[in-house]
Symmetry: C2
Subunit: 312 residues, 2 copies
């Protein structure tokens, strides 16, 4: 099954304890697409400026990502500058130049209309809704958001949440969205806003999925759905956390799209694959690691994740 992703394609300038990288290829849609490309066909909707050259585009197309929906326009690409010098757990944004992204209006090529899965990466919820409406036949829709939209664009965001099969956010975002510091209560409130499932990402501690009664018919084998927790891999070096969440989402959704059916079982496996792709992403600067993997490496790490957390 093919996935359509809409989101940012950008340049990132990053300071980490391991050094500095200027203008490396980044953006949520880029991380997502590269990560998902190991599992299924991926199509990208985004906008880039004149500084986005054939070399950058080749990073995506080499991985088989369809870039027909990547609009090239005059001006400069989105450029984010951030630092992890204070903490590897939270990026400190030093500068955000939206550039061509400021007036982005997603247009979906006719050839993309038959996409089966849709991922709404972290962008203005008005754009997320617009893309969602242009894809009425899509089978499953997942989305991401961030504090900026939660606090300042809440009404628009709530319209997006209603139609989501799964929302993927981190602990802080979940607690902010629900205005509740207990994660279980926060999850309950968020599920009441519409998403059938909520995946909360805990960084180095893994992720937890919560399900509404609309997920998987409300029960599996006669049992009510309980939360599911997937581990993260303890790493002795985190080089650059940028894009870990988008790589998680790409692994999660890419794996799901590769399966004949979305069941509770494939959903759980997908969370493990999400953790696997996130763990690769942070081991090098930018998208370096998620450009250059093999499916064998991914499945080996999947086996590690299982060994890390399974009882005999």
């Amino acid at each position: 099954m093919s996935i359509l992703v809409v989101g940012s394609v950008a340049f990132d300038t990053i300071d980490s304890p391991q050094g500095r990288r200027e203008r490396c290829l980044g953006g949520a849609a880029t991380y997502f697409a590269l990560s998902a490309s190991y599992f299924t066909d991926v199509r990208v909707i985004g906008v880039v400026g004149e500084d986005f050259t054939a070399q950058e585009e080749a990073v995506l197309t080499r991985r088989g990502v369809d870039t027909k929906g990547l609009e090239h326009t005059s001006g400069k690409s989105f450029h984010w500058t951030g630092s992890y010098l204070k903490s590897l757990n939270e990026a400190q944004t030093l500068n955000t130049e939206l550039n061509v992204f400021a007036t982005f209006s997603p247009k979906i090529p006719a050839a993309y209309k038959d996409s089966d899965f849709l991922f709404l990466a972290n962008i203005d919820p008005v754009l997320q809704s617009s893309v969602r409406q242009q894809m009425p036949k899509v089978r499953m829709v997942c989305g991401d958001t961030m504090n900026y939209w939660i606090t300042g664009h809440r009404e628009n965001l709530l319209k997006v949440l209603v139609g989501l099969d799964a929302l993927l956010i981190n602990d802080g975002e979940a607690k902010l969205l629900a205005d509740n510091s207990n994660l279980v209560l926060a999850a309950r409130k968020i599920l009441a806003m519409g998403p059938k499932a909520l995946i909360v990402k805990h960084g180095e501690y893994g992720s937890t999925a919560f399900f509404s009664e609309q997920a998987f018919g409300g029960a599996v084998d006669g049992k009510a759905l309980m939360p599911f927790r997937a581990p993260a891999l303890p790493l002795d070096q985190v080089v650059d956390p940028t894009g870990a969440g988008d790589s998680f989402a790409g692994g999660f959704f890419g794996y799901l799209a590769s399966q004949p059916e979305v069941t509770l079982q494939t959903f759980k496996h997908a969370m493990f694959y999400g953790g696997v792709m996130g763990s690769f992403a942070v081991q090098r600067f930018g998208t370096e690691r998620v450009q250059s993997l093999t499916r064998e490496e991914i499945d080996q790490r999947f086996a590690l994740f299982r060994e890390l957390s399974h009882l005999d």
Copy 2:
């Protein structure tokens, strides 16, 4: 197999968002002993004052805990006052009255000398060493500590670490002890200090075990040991986090002591049981919940933990 625990038996006054409790029975050895009592025989070494009545002692003896080693002396029992009003993740200590605990000198009754397992709860490392030396034949020794001993009594603490089969501490303590903010590197440094295993407790995110090359002969089935991560149960209400770590330790060590052999497999199961007992402890004030469980309830929750984290 029987476990000997040395540590505090105390009264706690606790403020939590759920209310206030004055002078409820607490102390690390109390939580540990009650929690371990569901799995094996437990003996306690500690000291209490005149305010510790037959009613408090009966809480332990009703659960079959042997209190011969509980020294009664003149004066008042250790009394801790803390608050979780600012955060449920970290206790704010408002007052510590050591009272009879200030001059505690552990004496081990002859009848305790044949104990198979020893748990050194969070007390002055000099006392931990003294008890360890009085128990030369013990088969397995685990221990706990806290920031106060790590920063102010480091040399004494290092002497304790050398002889431990497992050290159980939380993330902050591990990073402080190793002076390293990366958990994997911190674990490596701590294992080099002597413990064969390190269990780092992550609160609501579960726990991770790291193993030195001295653990389980350095390899199991020809494979080097990798870390192991056990989940925690997402709870919609945390009433009182006091004693969660000690209850974890009691479940962990109690289960291990109940098994015919300490293997990597029983160690992993023990971590799950640790999480189970910690999750019960926080659901009521003080030791209320860990006083009144059944083994059936514990095993039901163990099954939940497995379902929460296992792939089919």
